[in-house]
Symmetry: C2
Subunit: 252 residues, 2 copies
């Protein structure tokens, strides 16, 4: 089962907007991250023409790139959005709008989608990020919490990180995520079965005096739980001990 | 203030391990993501020699790459780790160990670090990801929840996403994250000051009959709060209305 709530309609409420990207590889990487996380609406603002041509004609260019919209200005790109989220770090300048770190963004976006809004996530060019003018179109500025010694992220990686966060914490339910998380560990009942067999082998081998049996049983139960055995492990160990027990009991 | 808890010692408890990477750009991208999120311990297992040479000699190669350790086998690379986390998707195979989606990984890693363990995050090569044998060294398999139609991520982006998750949810405190999130909105007291001035201007302009003044005051208060004005906005609007009021009162 896929941990995404595959409400395509809801995912279509998010636009990814790249402002004047310069490197075709980065455009491709951004598009790939979108496909990885199930988003399909890409707008590219005032791309450098050769760059844009090269990115779209790359072998294996993801469909999201072929369907991308091109606009001349950021104003056009975000015209339909009710929540415009600018991305970047503020290492070199002061915020002029509310700012939020990426790990705390999800509730804001969820709320916007719940009230039928449209969200645009805007990424600046590789060189400068979003300009002050670009940011004047943004309702909020989201920051990826990076190390101040190396704050600036690669564009493709920044897009991947932002879309991962939104895909996991806005467009997935906790239940769907948990469904994908499987312990694979054996049940308590199976561990008890194993404990019984091991004890029988210990008795048959004359391992412990009768007075120690209760304490040993207790320690054995704890140890089996610490080992976090899978069902397959339990199966295998049961096999080994059945064989041992058979030899202990029936051989002279 | 940086949202990271800059416990270098704690961050040093995480090793990033790349198994047989093939593309120098990807190695560089992985190293860059490490620097972005404040991690510095990189191990590269059995790299393709020309690739490895090229990555390390790239102009501006991050320090993490120059300090990286090279090992012949994954066994050596993870020898000191008490929790080895393999990464990948299981689209094409069955899990042989417990698996967890990345958004639910943090508690496991936190617990390991709290008990003074060492954690290794292991990434496979671009082509195949981790092999079945590689995975036999992993305690758990972590999956980035990607779209089943395009499950496979670029190596540099996968590293960035995993390290972002760990940096934000294991190595940062919620308080530190919140400290970086600033509403920048004006206080209620400032909004009241503004409301008073606007009302005074409305009265001076003969805007509303006395009978409507209470209702208008109420609506004005609500509207000012809906607008989520910053302190700077309030400053500016106060200036405008002070000027208007001066003209209304003193000019014929």
């Amino acid at each position: 089962m896929n941990p995404f709530v595959h409400s395509e309609a809801q995912r279509d409420s998010l636009d990814v907007v790249l402002v004047s990207p310069r490197n075709p590889l980065n455009i491709g990487a951004a598009a790939r991250a979108m496909a990885n996380f199930g988003f399909s609406r890409l707008t590219v603002v005032a791309p450098f023409a050769p760059t844009w041509r090269e990115a779209r004609s790359a072998i294996g260019a993801p469909e999201v790139l072929l369907k991308a919209v091109e606009t001349a200005t950021l104003a056009e790109a975000v015209a339909d959005a009710t929540l415009v989220v600018g991305t970047g770090t503020l290492t070199y300048r002061k915020a002029e709008q509310p700012r939020v770190v990426l790990p705390l963004l999800a509730p804001l976006v969820s709320q916007e989608l719940a009230s039928c809004g449209r969200v645009a996530a805007v990424f600046g060019s590789e060189k400068h990020g979003l300009t002050r003018q670009d940011l004047s179109f943004c309702h909020i500025l989201v920051e990826i919490p990076t190390d101040p010694r190396q704050p600036s992220m690669n564009l493709g990686q920044a897009v991947a990180v932002c879309l991962y966060e939104l895909a996991s914490r806005v467009f997935s339910t906790p239940a769907a995520l948990e469904a994908k998380t499987e312990a694979l560990t054996a049940s308590s009942g199976r561990l008890e079965l194993l404990a019984g067999l091991v004890e029988e082998a210990m008795r048959a081998a004359g391992y412990s005096p009768r007075s120690m049996q209760a304490a040993n049983q207790h320690d054995l139960r704890l140890m089996l739980r610490r080992m976090s055995l899978s069902e397959q492990d339990v199966q295998r160990i049961l096999g080994v001990f059945r064989r041992i027990l058979w030899r202990l009991k029936w051989l002279p």
